[in-house]
């Protein structure tokens, strides 16, 4: 069965890049444009992994992560933060929140897959056979 990965980012570009990276794999990509939507999708779909942006309108990634960790039903979902800011303080703050890993923009698609592969088992998408 396909594993569910949730991409929470206000940039549609980043969500499309994450989706493109997992196209060869048996993954169902779920999307949300901010932390509030992300929490709702996470509660409904129980994804196996979340890619989470830091700076977003409505609810930022740090707030969403904090709420996720407070929810007994969701706190075990591994989270990989995506951030355009690689400064020491920013990285330390993210690490303190209990994320599994983080990825600094700019990044290559292979890095997304590699980081995800450390959290979940990725299998190649089954090839469709003619009827």
């Amino acid at each position: 069965m396909a594993i569910k990965i949730l991409s929470v980012d206000d940039s549609r570009t980043i969500r499309l890049i994450v989706g493109k990276a997992f196209r060869p794999y048996d993954v169902t990509l779920l999307e949300a444009a901010n932390g509030e939507e992300g929490l709702a999708v996470a509660a409904r779909e129980k994804p196996e992994l979340i890619f989470l942006d830091v700076t977003m309108p409505v609810m930022d990634g740090v707030t969403m992560l904090t709420k996720l960790k407070e929810d007994p039903a969701l706190k075990a979902i591994p989270v990989i933060m995506l951030t355009a800011e690689s400064g020491r303080e920013n990285v330390l703050q993210i690490a303190r929140l209990g994320v599994r890993d983080y990825l600094v923009k700019p990044f290559k698609e292979e890095q997304i897959v590699e980081k995800a592969g450390r959290c979940v088992t990725l299998e190649k998408r089954p090839v469709a056979t003619p009827a």
Partner: protein, 159 residues
């Protein structure tokens, strides 16, 4: 605040960072070029992200001609330029500008000048110039990317 926070050092950082962003995200080689401003008559897509803190504030503008902006968006999303609408191109140019400014923010913070960044905005058109307000320095960084031109305009005020 660190002595590193000087306009020439900011430009030097941004030169390296832009080449890294284009190489990593787009597999495109950007090469620094001699100064030549983007012709103001050319149709272009400009991304802007502002940064502000106690010791420094300003903005980064990324100017791309419209055909090149379409090419950049197609490369980033793995689509052909014909499949892209204005909204997708705007989003990609905004995201690239966000990465450029996010990197600058990290460099500034690590150098002692804490600051925050805005969300990206897009300007489309041909006959426009962005004038800095009094006391704000403007620097141009220009790059060649294959046969295309990339111009980065940095407005900065060190307080």
């Amino acid at each position: 605040m660190s002595q590193i926070i000087q306009v020439p050092n900011i430009c030097e950082f941004m030169n390296r960072h832009l080449m890294d962003v284009f190489e990593t995200m787009l597999s495109m080689k950007a090469v620094p070029a001699a100064y030549a401003a983007m012709p103001h008559t050319e149709e272009r897509v400009t991304g802007s992200v502002a940064f502000a803190g106690d010791h420094i504030n300003g903005a980064v503008y990324l100017h791309l001609t419209t055909p090149f902006a379409n090419q950049v968006a197609a490369a980033m999303l793995g689509l052909s330029p014909e499949d892209l609408g204005e909204a997708e191109v705007n989003d990609v140019v905004g995201e690239v500008t966000n990465m450029l400014t996010g990197g600058l923010k990290s460099w500034l913070c690590d150098s002692g000048a804490e600051c925050a960044v805005s969300t990206p905005a897009i300007i489309r058109g041909s006959a426009f110039v962005i004038e800095p307000t009094p006391g704000v320095e403007r620097e141009w960084l220009v790059f060649n990317c294959d046969r295309n031109r990339i111009a980065v305009e940095i407005h900065v005020k060190v307080c």
